[in-house]
């Protein structure tokens, strides 16, 4: 029977009735990385050095070495990333249950609100309004916050710094707890550079999405793109981080399956 289901999946993919949408930003040196105050440790941006390109360094082949942080580009946050999740079982990239790598998603469209207010915070009230329209968020779903932030191709606009810090949308503290405890989501995903808002250090607790999600063994996805091409419900996310030993996160290819 399982063979039949998989065969059917393949057939649906081949026929185009199930489409695959890439939710991943290209890993490039230009793509901005999270910026902390300069005295702190920093996440490396993506860097790539050519090893050979059909030349004297390797006559018949082309390859590169690349380097980056665990939290560079479109990436996955494991629970161990945050201090609140440090003692949980199976909390790192090499130990998180692989069954979590394929999960359904709910996409909450906050694009209008984010356009009007870069510091927009997702609230419980917003979620409940969304549920009134699309149904209750199913258990063990990804909640993806669509802000169209990925359409900001100018790195400066994407980062949106001013002298008071970064201004990007994210969830407030209450809604994160609501999603974890009331909806049992598997994780929270955003288009901006963090799962938390740019000004989230001023929330209580600071960085609530990191604090509560990871504290509850849930995950984060950030720097997603193409969320505008997903339906509010019904898509399935494939998000498998690299199997980094004791890793706190990982750049990864995030894809979504949607029905036509």
């Amino acid at each position: 029977m399982s063979t039949n289901i998989l065969s059917q999946l393949v057939a649906e993919l081949s026929s185009g009735r199930i489409r695959i949408i890439d939710l991943t930003q290209t890993l490039s040196p230009e793509f901005p990385q999270i910026s902390l105050p300069p005295e702190m440790g920093q996440c490396l941006p993506f860097r790539i050095e050519e090893v050979s390109r059909y030349d004297d360094r390797g006559p018949g082949w082309y390859w590169n070495n690349f380097s980056c942080g665990e939290h560079t580009g479109t990436h996955f946050d494991a629970p161990i990333h945050w201090i609140s999740g440090k003692d949980l079982p199976n909390n790192a990239t090499d130990t998180v249950p692989i069954t979590d790598f394929v999960r359904p998603a709910c996409v909450l469209d906050c694009s209008k609100e984010a356009a009007a207010n870069p510091d927009f915070l997702l609230t419980v009230e917003f979620v409940k309004r969304w549920e009134a329209k699309h149904g209750v968020i199913p258990t063990r779903s990804w909640v993806l916050m669509r802000t169209d932030w990925s359409k900001r191709t100018d790195p400066a606009a994407y980062q949106n710094f001013d002298e008071t810090g970064q201004h990007t949308p994210g969830p407030d503290a209450e809604v994160v707890q609501f999603l974890v405890h009331e909806r049992d989501v598997i994780g929270f995903g955003t288009e901006a550079i963090g799962t938390d808002a740019g000004q989230a250090q001023y929330l209580r607790p600071p960085y609530p999405c990191h604090y509560f999600m990871h504290g509850a063994g849930r995950y984060g996805l950030q720097c997603l793109t193409n969320l505008d091409r997903l339906p509010p419900t019904g898509s399935v996310i494939v998000a498998a981080p690299l199997k980094i030993q004791d890793g706190s996160g990982s750049p990864l290819r995030v894809i979504a399956m949607v029905t036509s």
């Binding site: 040196p29 005295e39 440790g41």
Partner: protein, 415 residues
């Protein structure tokens, strides 16, 4: 009277760009004492410690008393031009391309007679002159006679410009304009007559004070440039490498850690990635283009400036990994200098003492202001020196280092 330099006409694109030639660069080892002094802008001759006789040409023994104690000592350079000539012919390629070339024969007040290149404003012999040492395009010291008094447009003299890297009418790349140093240098180099200054800035989402002011300067052209990103360096070099006459590498990462007070290597890596690998990336991408334009007319490619640190000479443990990265950069800059020398491109290494910026907040004064550093760099380009130690601290360290490197190591480790 030297005619003021005028802006060169645009290059005729159907004419071949001439290749660089060098004046004769072979010297005996003892003669390199003249080069060592000229490299930091000094004119020194050997003076016998036993009988005080001033020697020239450089010798292994005093011609008066046979003493071998011949330390190099700064000379005033005043003297009498007793004969002069203008070469209309030379068997050497470099001079063959530059005749007529004026030479002089000067009796220095301190004793020796010296053969000199001549500044155009020195009158025919006999005349009072001031002799100074300069590096020529081979990187070796030569002596030049200047008029005894300052004259208008002195720096614009045709022969003198073969020894200097004057930014006037030249196009300059300043690799990082986000820092106070970068901004001060951009302003100083424009004040010195640079035609165009490309200013690099990494991580364009990070805004720094003063950066908008730079944007408003008409000669400034901003370029995204991140020395940690090979692709960025390659792309910028492809875009402007063929036009840069002077490259000033102002990019640096400076943190305040030694070994024990910071776990891990990521800070040290970040320092190395900009301070050392950044220089390597720049050198690989811009070096060939600069070399190719080293003889490209009046505004040819002439110089490469590295801002290093006196900490490159001896480690300052409170800034230990930064010191190490600057020492690595210093070593690489020596390699760069060797590779640029066949084209006559001068590599100028600047060794400032603590600069008055946030990463030296806790270093007590005196500290070099960015403006003073910028002034020193412009001066170095105009004088064509190789090594610059701007500021009182750098000067003192240099003296200490030359006197006893081991003692300096101890002094720096017990502040």
């Amino acid at each position: 009277m030297t005619r003021e330099l005028s802006r060169p006409k645009r290059k005729n694109p159907i004419l071949r760009t001439r290749l660089a030639t060098l004046p004769p660069g072979a010297r005996s080892r003892v003669a390199l004492g003249l080069t060592a002094a000229a490299a930091r802008g000094a004119f020194e001759l050997q003076v016998c410690r036993d009988c005080q006789a001033v020697q020239y040409p450089p010798r292994e023994a005093c011609q008066a008393c046979l003493s071998s104690r011949l330390p190099w000592r700064v000379q005033a350079g005043d003297g009498e031009l007793i004969a002069d000539t203008t070469l209309a012919h030379s068997n050497d390629l470099f001079f063959r391309e530059r005749v007529p070339w004026r030479l002089g024969y000067v009796r220095l007040d301190c004793g020796p007679t010296v053969v000199v290149h001549m500044h155009g404003d020195v009158p025919p012999a006999p005349a009072r002159v001031k002799v100074g040492a300069r590096l020529d395009k081979s990187g070796q010291a030569v002596l030049i006679a200047f008029p005894s008094q300052e004259v208008p447009n002195m720096a614009d003299d045709r022969q003198l410009r073969e020894f200097t890297c004057d930014p006037k009418f030249r196009k300059v790349l300043v690799t990082d304009g986000k820092t106070g140093i970068g901004q001060a240098i951009v302003k100083a180099i424009i004040a010195a007559g640079a035609d165009l200054v490309w200013v690099g800035h990494a991580e364009p989402w990070k805004k720094f004070p003063g950066f908008d002011e730079l944007k408003a300067i008409p000669q400034v052209s901003l370029m995204p440039l991140d020395l940690t990103d090979s692709k960025s360096v390659r792309e910028i070099a492809a875009e402007i490498g063929g036009r840069v006459d002077v490259l000033i590498n102002t990019a640096e990462v400076h943190r305040n850690f030694g070994i024990g007070n910071r776990r891990g290597v990521e800070i040290a890596q970040a320092e190395m990635d900009v301070n050392y690998f950044g220089l390597l990336r720049l050198a690989q991408e811009f070096g060939p283009a600069l070399r190719g334009r080293a003889a490209d007319g009046q505004s040819n490619a002439v110089a490469w400036v590295n801002i290093l640190s006196v900490y490159a000479l001896a480690n300052f443990p409170p800034h230990g990994t930064f010191s190490a990265s600057k020492a690595a950069a210093h070593s690489l800059a020596q390699c760069l200098r060797a590779e640029m020398r066949p084209a006559g491109i001068r590599v100028i290494n600047v060794f400032p003492g603590p600069i008055d910026h946030e990463w030296n907040q806790q270093i007590p004064p005196p500290k070099v202001t960015p403006q003073a550093l910028a002034t020193a760099i412009v001066r170095a380009l105009k004088d064509g020196v190789e090594d610059v130690y701007p500021g009182d601290v750098a000067q003192e360290w240099l003296e200490r280092w030359r006197d006893n490197p081991k003692a300096l190591e101890r002094e720096l480790s017990n502040p």
